[in-house]
Symmetry: C2
Subunit: 303 residues, 2 copies
């Protein structure tokens, strides 16, 4: 079953302690859809400028991503410039040029409107809601957001969250959204806004998933080389929602497997700049890391 994703396609210029790259392919929708494409078909809604090269379009198409919803506007593609210090958990934004993204109005091609699985990447919550209104009868709606919208459009965000089944956000943003420092309490407050499942991303510390009467903790895959964390969260979401859509099973047990697949996908993305590592891997490598996370977390019951 295919997933509909709406988000950004961008050029990222990034400096980390290990290297730098200019105008590399990035953006939430690119990371999400490439990651999800290892599990299922993806239909993408985003906007690019007239400077966007054919090779990137060819790459996304080669991943079986439906690009009918990829609008092309006059002007430049969204650009982000950032850097990381040795503490790779925190991105420092140097420049943001929205460019064609500033006037982006997501419009769904007719064949997208039957989508059963929807991922609203981190964009204006009002646009997220507009997308949802165009989808006929989604089985699962997941979304992301960020501090910028929590600060500037909290009312609109909460209106969107009322229509969302799963929220996938960073730990600090859960606390901010709930205005509560304790994470367990904050998670309950945020679940009260609508999303019955809350997935809390904690960077190198992994993921906590809060659902009705259950908490699941998954570690990040321990890596000897973390090169660039950009896109890790969206790649995680792509593996998570991708696995759910592929298996069409929203039971807790399957949600947990999906979380681990998401974690595995993110572990590849951070090993190289941009989508470069995702261009190399195959499904066998994904399964191999899944099994290693199983070994990493396994311990015996009390007799």
């Amino acid at each position: 079953m295919s997933i509909l994703v709406v988000g950004s396609v961008a050029f990222d210029s990034i400096k980390t302690p290990f290297g730098e790259v200019d105008d590399a392919l990035g953006g939430s929708a690119c990371y999400f859809s490439t990651s999800a494409s290892f599990f299922t078909d993806v239909s993408l809604v985003a906007v690019i400028g007239d400077d966007f090269p054919q090779e990137h379009i060819d790459f996304l198409a080669s991943r079986n991503i439906d690009l009918a919803g990829l609008q092309k506007s006059a002007g430049e593609t969204f650009r982000w410039k950032g850097k990381y210090e040795y503490d790779l958990n925190e991105a420092h934004t140097l420049e943001t040029h929205l460019n064609v993204f500033e006037s982006f109005k997501p419009e769904l091609p007719e064949n997208y409107r039957d989508a059963e699985y929807v991922f609203l990447a981190n964009i204006d919550p009002e646009l997220q809601l507009e997308v949802l209104q165009q989808v006929k009868k989604p089985k699962l709606v997941a979304c992301d957001t960020m501090n910028f919208w929590i600060e500037g459009k909290k009312k609109e965000l909460i209106k969107t969250l009322a229509k969302v089944d799963m929220l996938v956000i960073n730990e600090a943003e859960v606390r901010q959204l709930a205005d509560e420092p304790n994470l367990v309490k904050a998670a309950e407050i945020v679940r009260g806004f609508g999303p019955k499942t809350l997935v809390v991303k904690r960077g190198e510390y992994g993921v906590l998933m809060f659902s009705e009467g259950s908490i699941f903790s998954a570690p990040a895959y321990p890596l000897e080389e973390v090169f660039d964390p950009t896109g890790a969260g969206d790649t995680f979401a792509g593996g998570f929602v991708g696995y759910l859509a592929a298996t069409r099973n929203l039971e807790e047990k399957n949600l947990r497997k999906a979380i681990v697949f998401g974690t595995v996908m993110a572990s590849f993305t951070v090993e190289k700049f941009s989508l470069d590592r995702l261009r190399e891997i195959d499904y066998a490598e994904i399964e191999s890391r899944y099994k290693r996370i199983k070994l990493l977390t396994d311990f015996a019951d009390i007799e």
Copy 2:
């Protein structure tokens, strides 16, 4: 089998966003030995001043802790004053008065020298070595340390580590000791100093254990009320080493169970000031939380 622990007995004055307390019973040896006492016998080596009240001695004795090695010196007991903001992961030290601890020379009573399990809490690495030299034939030596010794006595610390089987320290200290930002690489460097097992404490993010060819990740128990994190690390170590000594089994599978028991013990300590929560619990509550951590981390294999 009983454990020998050497460390501090202290009075802590602590302020957190949730309350404050003055001159409460604390110190690494108190937290460790009280926690370990739920699993096995403990022999304590530490120093107190002549201001140390009988009620605290009675409490430790009531936990079956052997106090023959608890020296009493003229002067005041070690005092620490600290506070925490909402980010409970970081303690801010306001005052440290070593008092009688300044001239502490650990001397082991004769019957302590046969100890098979030894925990060297966070004290001067030269004193840690002196203690080790008094123990005849330990089966397991575990130790803790801190940034203060890594900065000021690195050479002495490395000399001690060469005689140690397990090192239990904070994440930032692993990186500092190895002079390497990547945790996986840093762990290998530190294991090269001697301890074949490295246990990395990550506060609310749980624990990573590095041993030969294996990494184990355990989450912290998610709590709705974290009242005061003081002593969490030593309580963790007490549960960890306590379970190992009680079961006399150092295989990887048992190490992992011990890590989870340590995590459970720490989760109790942080719920109240001082040792107050440990005074209330029983072994059934410990087992209950162990099972809940099992549920928290459980996910299915790939078919």
